[in-house]
């Protein structure tokens, strides 16, 4: 048997559904030595390691989600995720992108309509926390752009900067479920939540955004020129200068592009 085929066989026994042990032993017979202990029993050590370590990795990335659903249920869902969405690479801080969608689709979780959004916020925080280190834009460069061309500016956001929106008060739910937080009652209809997540001293933090600010930033982050992003904000009282100063001040912008005329 070639190495390639041996690795496909072992992969199937580490990942795949638990077969009858006798059947598994038969499949591994002639591949794995069966002295002292049966092959299926030996494979179980690797299989358990795979599932336990990935459940732990997801628990580290989604601690609030885990607290909301309880340790046992979380482990069950995480195990299902590990079975159907194995990691594509060895950096486990990048593992779990599809986990919020899986949670949201669970029939058991329909009583917690905000659960998927809480997990999505945790994923956004994780992306911000681990994003590559890139220097923020030095605002003095912007001052050299001719005033007639400022409307055409396209901003490149810092990789640690993310926008987040939910129709539930997810930021309050998250904060109330921190280990040090005191109990609070949150009404699910108390309002939507729109956040600008960025990194401060290496850790993700957020600022709450108004509707107009969010629409502006959403368009800007999608690569719309400044003038069109302002149009998207479409609001009386939208403070462009203040919003831009805030963005630059928190290092949310990495660069700008001025397309040729």
């Amino acid at each position: 048997m070639k190495l390639h085929d041996i690795q496909r066989t072992i992969r199937a026994h580490v990942l795949g559904p638990i077969a009858n042990a006798a059947l598994q032993d038969a499949e591994l017979s002639g591949v794995v030595m069966d002295d002292l202990m049966a092959p299926a029993r030996r494979l179980r050590i690797y299989r358990n390691h795979y599932y336990i370590t990935l459940i732990d990795a997801l628990a580290a990335t989604f601690p609030v989600t885990r607290r909301l659903v309880g340790e046992m249920f979380f482990a069950q869902v995480a195990r299902r995720f590990a079975a159907t969405s194995p990691p594509a690479g060895p950096c486990l801080f990048e593992y779990g992108e599809g986990f919020p969608a899986l949670l949201e689709a669970l029939p058991e979780a329909q009583a917690l309509p905000y659960l998927g959004d809480v997990a999505r916020l945790e994923w956004a925080l994780n992306l911000s926390r681990t994003a590559p280190d890139v220097p923020p834009l030095d605002p003095s460069g912007l001052g050299r752009v001719e005033s007639g061309r400022q409307a055409d500016l396209i901003f490149v956001f810092h990789p640690a900067c993310r926008l987040f929106a939910s129709r539930f008060p997810v930021a309050r739910i998250w904060a109330t479920n921190q280990p040090s937080a005191s109990e609070a009652t949150i009404a699910l209809d108390e309002g939507a939540c729109r956040l600008l997540i960025h990194r401060q001293d290496g850790e993700p933090v957020w600022r709450t955004l108004g509707d107009a600010e969010f629409a502006f930033l959403y368009a800007l982050r999608a690569g719309r020129p400044l003038e069109r992003a302002v149009a998207a904000a479409n609001g009386a009282g939208f403070d462009l200068a203040g919003t831009l100063a805030g963005l630059l001040g928190c290092g949310a912008i990495a660069d700008f592009i001025l397309p040729p005329t």
Binding site: M1, K2, L3, H4, I6, Q7, R8, I10, R11, V14, L15, G30, V31, V32, M33, D35, L36, M37, P39, R41, R42, L43, R44, I45, Y46, N48, H49, Y50, I52, T53, L54, D56, A57, P86, P87, A88, G89, P90, C91, L92, F93, E94, R129, T130, A131, P132, D133, V134, P159, A160, R199, G202, E203
Partner: protein, 323 residues
């Protein structure tokens, strides 16, 4: 590298410790006088806090980068994207050692998050050697390759593991990371003589020694050793270490501890114990060498045949499985 742990008067190089995030505050507040810190490369491939912490550690002590995800044993070759990230980390960190494992984790583009065992065949030897050469070309430096802890053997294997590692070192110029706990765990789980394994490694290729604890687990009535890095180094592994130090006197030792992580002081005490045991092992070796040469002089003087020399004088953590 210029900051490689210095050797003085034939004393063993000072032991290092595996750096783990919960010890960060203690270590940065008062850097302990260990020989070096070893970190898992994959934990530092993003930005933010871990990257900053590694840069701080780097200013205090030499760094050893220990990879767990390169999958040197994959028949489908290495992932160039991962290799590129490792190369950038190596460039940024300037570690004095870079190491990986004699194992595989990737099949069909899926990462199985474990150090899975290889069949020791000529075909596997050629594949692993190609992969090591590719890694060393990308990184522009030799790497150390660690013997794994194993829970199964393949029927196809024809080459003893120590010989397989020796052949890799000869073919690729890589070094060997000798994990004495893994040797003990594999020998207990699969049968084999741990001391003979040590003697079979090419001494000149061994560039580091790993020490860790393991768990003894009952698996349906059979006892199995699990390499969980979750306890103090066992007496059997210390005994093996004392022999390893005599075989590989220039290889720095590292104490790894992953699960049930204790206070930093416990880890430092293990590293101090490794240093003390290495000094004793090397000192007693000098005495026995001299005793041997005295004996040889006596034998020559009395026209007796020389006695066969006693050659001994010269020469990551797994989780517990659910029941």
């Amino acid at each position: 590298m210029t900051d490689l742990v210095p050797l003085s008067n034939g004393a063993p190089p000072p032991a290092g410790i595996g750096f783990r995030a919960p010890h960060e505050a203690d270590i940065l507040a008062a850097p302990p006088s260990v020989g070096f810190f070893e970190v898992h490369a994959e934990n530092y491939m993003g930005g933010g806090t871990p990257a900053r912490v590694l840069a701080r550690l780097r200013r205090e002590r030499p760094i050893s980068l220990h990879g767990v995800g390169l999958s040197l044993g994959s028949a489908e070759g290495l992932d160039p994207a991962h290799l590129a990230r490792l190369a950038r980390l190596v460039e940024r960190t300037e570690p004095f050692l870079v190491s990986e494992h004699l194992s595989w984790s990737v099949a069909g583009g899926v990462y199985l998050n474990d150090l899975l065992p290889l069949p020791y065949t000529e075909e596997a030897l050629a594949i692993v050697a190609d992969n090591i050469e590719a890694a060393q070309e990308w990184l522009r430096r030799p790497i150390l390759v660690e013997n794994p802890s194993a829970y199964l053997r393949f029927a196809a294997s024809t080459i003893p593991e120590a010989e397989f590692l020796g052949a890799l070192a000869r073919r690729t110029g890589c070094g060997i990371l000798c994990d004495v706990n893994n040797i003990h765990v594999s020998a207990a789980n699969l049968g084999g003589d741990a001391f003979a394994y040590l003697a079979a490694l090419p001494a000149e290729a061994v560039g580091e020694i790993h020490l860790a604890g393991h768990a003894v687990v009952d698996a349906d009535g059979a006892s199995i050793l699990i390499d969980d890095h979750g306890s103090a180094v066992s007496a059997e592994v210390w005994a093996l270490y004392e022999v390893a130090v005599r075989h590989f006197p220039h290889a720095p030792a590292l104490v790894e501890w992953d699960s049930n992580l204790p206070e930093l002081s416990v880890l430092l005490a293990e590293a101090a114990q490794a240093d003390a045991r290495a000094r004793c092992a090397l000192a007693s070796q000098k005495l026995s060498d001299r005793a041997l040469s005295d004996r040889a002089l006596f034998d020559m003087a009395t026209h007796l045949d020389l006695p066969p020399s006693a050659r001994a004088g010269r020469t990551g953590g797994r989780v517990h499985e659910a029941a």
